[in-house]
């Protein structure tokens, strides 16, 4: 395949993914329509299936695309052994960057195939592992209270998920997120004189 043909295929694929993301955010996974996706992407209906044979493959490709972008952004933080506060802030920023899609995933997760659910879960594992290591480091340093990091992280991940699943009932994460982060850090932190900023923790 020559390079211009490959570039054209890559561009077409990207347009389909962008169109599919909008379609999924508006109509949800079950009601997403490939004809509308094709129309919005400016391609023939059959072209969608040349690139993605199922709706699941489409959703999986968007999850992977976001995971790669998030991983690239997170890399310097993970390398530099960022503080827990910095990692929580990064998590909020990454969710906010594609909030409608994050809401879609949280809402539809129980109804997706086991394979797709697994991919979605694993897509955030590197960041969650960095949070776990940061909690362990804080516990060893005597900054954080003792406790199983996986259980402690369940409070954070559960609060995030609740806000993603119920956007009609709860303030958006862009608004509530910093308070959730600071409260979570307070829960973990052993009181010490001279309070520091959340990003120091």
């Amino acid at each position: 395949m020559n390079s211009s043909r490959l570039a054209h295929q890559t561009q077409t694929r990207a347009r389909i993914l962008e169109s599919a993301r909008s379609e999924l955010e508006v109509h949800g996974y079950r009601d997403a329509n490939t004809a509308r996706i094709a129309h919005a992407a400016g391609v023939a209906h059959g072209t969608v299936f040349l690139h993605f044979s199922t709706r699941e493959q489409l959703l999986d490709a968007i999850v992977l695309s976001d995971a790669l972008a998030d991983a690239a952004e997170a890399l310097p933080h993970l390398r530099a052994s960022a503080s827990l506060g910095e990692l929580l802030t990064l998590h909020l920023r990454q969710l906010s960057a594609h909030l409608p899609f994050a809401r879609l995933l949280a809402r539809e997760l129980p109804f997706l195939s086991p394979s797709l659910r697994a991919h979605i879960l694993v897509s955030r594992t590197a960041l969650v592992e960095a949070m776990r290591l940061s909690i362990l480091a804080g516990q060893e340093a005597g900054t954080f209270k003792p406790g199983d990091p996986a259980v402690l992280l369940a409070f954070w991940l559960g609060a995030i998920e609740r806000h993603l699943v119920h956007p009609d009932l709860l303030p958006p994460l862009t608004e509530r997120g910093p308070a959730l982060r600071d409260t979570f850090l307070d829960m973990l932190t052993i009181e010490q004189p001279g309070r520091r900023s959340p990003d120091d923790l």
Binding site: L68, L121, E129, A150, L153
Partner: protein, 78 residues
């Protein structure tokens, strides 16, 4: 690009087996010289990672790990 064994994103050279950007597998799925480790060893490590990060039960973590690995080129159909 992702690891063709476990789907971990491969962003920088150090993410690849033996630090070799041409290696299709991640540093966790390979040994010191970049050779793909046995399936069972990778599955055990992957399962343990999901238990300690996401707090999954052992059974759910194992099923999730095996499900991911089964979709990757190294273990497809397994």
């Amino acid at each position: 690009m992702t690891c063709e064994s476990c789907s971990l994103p491969l962003i920088s050279p150090e993410d690849h087996g033996a630090g070799d950007p041409a290696n299709r597998y991640c540093r966790y799925c390979t040994d010191a010289v970049g050779t793909l480790r046995p399936y069972d060893a990778i599955l055990a490590d992957f399962t343990a990672l999901l238990v300690r990060t996401h707090g999954l039960t052992e059974a759910a973590a194992r099923e999730t790990s095996a499900g991911i690995m089964a979709t990757q080129p190294a273990w497809r159909g397994r």
